[in-house]
Symmetry: C2
Subunit: 568 residues, 2 copies
Amino acid sequence: MGALEKLLNKSDKGNSLFEAEIRNIKIPVCKQFLKGGKISPVDFKPSKDSVSTKDSTKVFASFPNLRETASKVMEGVRGGKTPKLKGKRVAVLFSGGPAAGGHNVVAGLFDMLAASKCTLLGVKAGPKGLINGDLFEINGEDIKRIKNTGGFDYLGSDRTKIKTDEQFAAVKKTCVDNKLDALVVVGGDDSNTNAAVLAEYLYIGVKPDGSGVQVIGVPKTIDGDLQIGKYLPISFGFDTATKIFAEMVGNILQDTPSSRKYWHFIKLMGRAASHVALEVALQTKPAVALISEEVAEKKMALGDIVKQIGETVITRAQNKMNYGVVVVPEGLIEFIPEMNLLIHELNHIVARHEKETADFDLAKKIDFVRSKLSEEHSSLFASLPHYIQEMLLFDRDSHGNLQVSQIPTEKLLIDMVKEYVKEISPETKFSTLNHFFGYEGRCGAPSLFDAAYCYNLGLTAGAAIVNGMTGYIVAFTELEKGGEILAVPLVGLLNIEMRHGKEEMVIEKALVKTDSPAFMYFAVNRARWGEKDLFTSPGPRQLWGPVSNQMPMTVALNQGYGKLGFKI
Amino acid sequence: MGALEKLLNKSDKGNSLFEAEIRNIKIPVCKQFLKGGKISPVDFKPSKDSVSTKDSTKVFASFPNLRETASKVMEGVRGGKTPKLKGKRVAVLFSGGPAAGGHNVVAGLFDMLAASKCTLLGVKAGPKGLINGDLFEINGEDIKRIKNTGGFDYLGSDRTKIKTDEQFAAVKKTCVDNKLDALVVVGGDDSNTNAAVLAEYLYIGVKPDGSGVQVIGVPKTIDGDLQIGKYLPISFGFDTATKIFAEMVGNILQDTPSSRKYWHFIKLMGRAASHVALEVALQTKPAVALISEEVAEKKMALGDIVKQIGETVITRAQNKMNYGVVVVPEGLIEFIPEMNLLIHELNHIVARHEKETADFDLAKKIDFVRSKLSEEHSSLFASLPHYIQEMLLFDRDSHGNLQVSQIPTEKLLIDMVKEYVKEISPETKFSTLNHFFGYEGRCGAPSLFDAAYCYNLGLTAGAAIVNGMTGYIVAFTELEKGGEILAVPLVGLLNIEMRHGKEEMVIEKALVKTDSPAFMYFAVNRARWGEKDLFTSPGPRQLWGPVSNQMPMTVALNQGYGKLGFKI
């Protein structure tokens, strides 16, 4: 075998040149965590800030143990004064979809716990692994191997929600069997809601001495919909995902005036909120970017959106730009008020007439449903392309609900804009391509921002544990000037929402605010971008060199920072 | 307006932090081109190597002017001895789809021509712009702005093939009107074939003194199907495109054991040849990567491919890996012998019975066609999913030919593998997602390899011109030890092929050779990758830092280099 073949074989299993080198990148540590150059836990003291649930009576009734600490935001300060727990056993799990930087949370947690002679265990495959007691001890060799790498594969993850009595009992058993003193839940809004419930449930009476198991949450999600104003600038993974998507969108934008041929409609993963779409729009400046929250707020009809895009297509064509990019957030459809109403009405009609229409073919079913729909929705339904009508009638889950996320919004818009352009300006050439970026963005190697942010979140979680805290989500702010360490009480974030017709206590999903600096900057500038084709191509995220130090633009704008560079 | 808003506005129109910084990257120059630290043309002398057409009688008959120089490969050596042309006017055009590094070809060409006081003109929008006489003078400010950036937008491009007498006459007029002395065609195999024809046509009698216009080709295409063994290791753009695709595939691979849920079928752009799929497979080591040329050589049936993937799915499931990645080359369908025959037979049947079946609906048309197909192809046709049958019958171009590239091969394979797995191993979970990567890879900022390779190709083209050469494609080899400068005679690369039933002289598309070192390395190792999940995540291409210096793996293997780092 030749030298090159040997070299290529050496790269097997996560050892490409890139992966080998990123493990050596030195991650900056917030100086509060350093004592004589070594990692050391901070103390936590109450800050001047508080959070408060809107439904305190109901929420506090469910959290008798945690209500005392449910409002004060805790601040991490140079430590050493408060006595710290030592020799404890802590478990960490990933919950939900992967996000870049999860491995660095584990690394930070490990290093901080090691400083207090604690043991870190990994829970395999998420909450299900916690229920099943599938744990193993994490060692320093593993940490070296996973540091700065993408993916959740070291532990695995799943989407089990711990809610039945049996599941809670099983979790308690796992804690007892593994002599756990604390649990760290790395997850999104739902998983952190679950962490709050676990913190309450495990508060006392778990261990032989009658004490409880601490629970600390870490904010993860590429969607960016877990953020709490100035207390939590962003969830981890958002920066890497949006940098990956922005490179792809920027590359395609660069292609448009090169081949002068296509309009690309690009849907971006991000669930309901449009944080991802907004961030990518700021980074790339496309001709059109839709923001679901604005659509809902302005009560825009589907036809309004189609018209807006169609007019941009026609105007640009008149200016010899028969090309462009439209950025579409994944959750758009549900934010169009009339579509939302139509879907609700359809849900009822389909359910009520299920038997009667069971043998109908598509055409007959469409006629039937149209005859039952209100006049307004009947014509909206009729305006939709056939494959969308078919999806609306047939693609339903086991509860009979439409799988809205399955609707190919980008194709729907293409077809409807085509109709519009053909009618208003038949001479305008309008060739299209569509894309969906999502899975590509979840498991890339973390950007330097996510790598550093996650490692410091892990350190914070470790410090909260050795300070004996429970029921907090860790956070890290003041990202442009060294970082400030926070722990925000989870119970103070809970509010009552109706879900599937039932009241549930949940952490509210953070949507894009149309009065936020990030949205307002976008709103002021977008017309100019489209008219003059001012797009940018932000390129692949760099782990070395002069442009590696960048935080998300939406974060910098919304936090009121003066620059994009982060400093930890 | 705040400081940050001002900063964001400053990034308008290709001025993101990344784009601003890449313009400052210093590109290495082959030392043969340097004289006292300044760029200076090489001399060209005949090397010991030759190329020869298989159809010399016919080809030479068509190229009476160029036949003399049609075989000797020319080598660039430290210059200064041969007198050089000065003060000439040279035009450059892009032809066909964009590829990363085109702007650096222009930059290299500009810098080399400047050294001989020549003027460089840009042809807008490709061959069509040449016909229409749409030219402008390129200046140093433009070069600073476009250096190291992605896209073909500085000039634009198109796919016009210059073939009619009127078109040739129009090109000659453009040359006369613009007082051109030379023309550089940056394009793929077809464009370089066209360059050969233009070189012959413009050989004499264009300028007032009766002399001709020189034509030089530059090898561009992300598909990698324009390569000539040791004389031309690769076309430019291939490295950047495959690095972009490999990052995405690597990210998705990293996602598979994290979420443990999906098989991803990923189709990659690359036209007929599988160079792109092979390169990405070497970089990422997925469970399955299909190589069209192997399928054709082994005369594999569609069912064989489905079985191969299905068995991998089942085996991995038995080893608790209910996930994986299948890399699918764009051109696969045409390389499956039975599919190729079926398509041919269908083309005949559809054409012959066009009127008769005009009013048939899909079901009736399928029945009719099946009754006319040979028994073997009838059952193959019946085995295909309905939407593929529909495409095979209806999606035809104006000549009645099937648009094979439109067939969603990745979805076809998913559906057929699903059937297979359900039948053989009904208990095996098999959830799938599909992706197509293509346009994302054409206009990214060039990798350092493409940036350097292209700049030196541009220098070579400039040097060939001031040496008075015509009818050559420039090349650059010995990439691991400083580079060797070559010019390969285009006419020597022409062979006769049947295209649309007519003999045409063309540069043969380079396919993946199954006896090449790159394919053999892949063939030896792929089973291991799939069995043990040995994938790698090569990460985003880096323009700075320890892993920025990498050439394509297929190139390093096929050229017999001992390492991946390039040295120019």
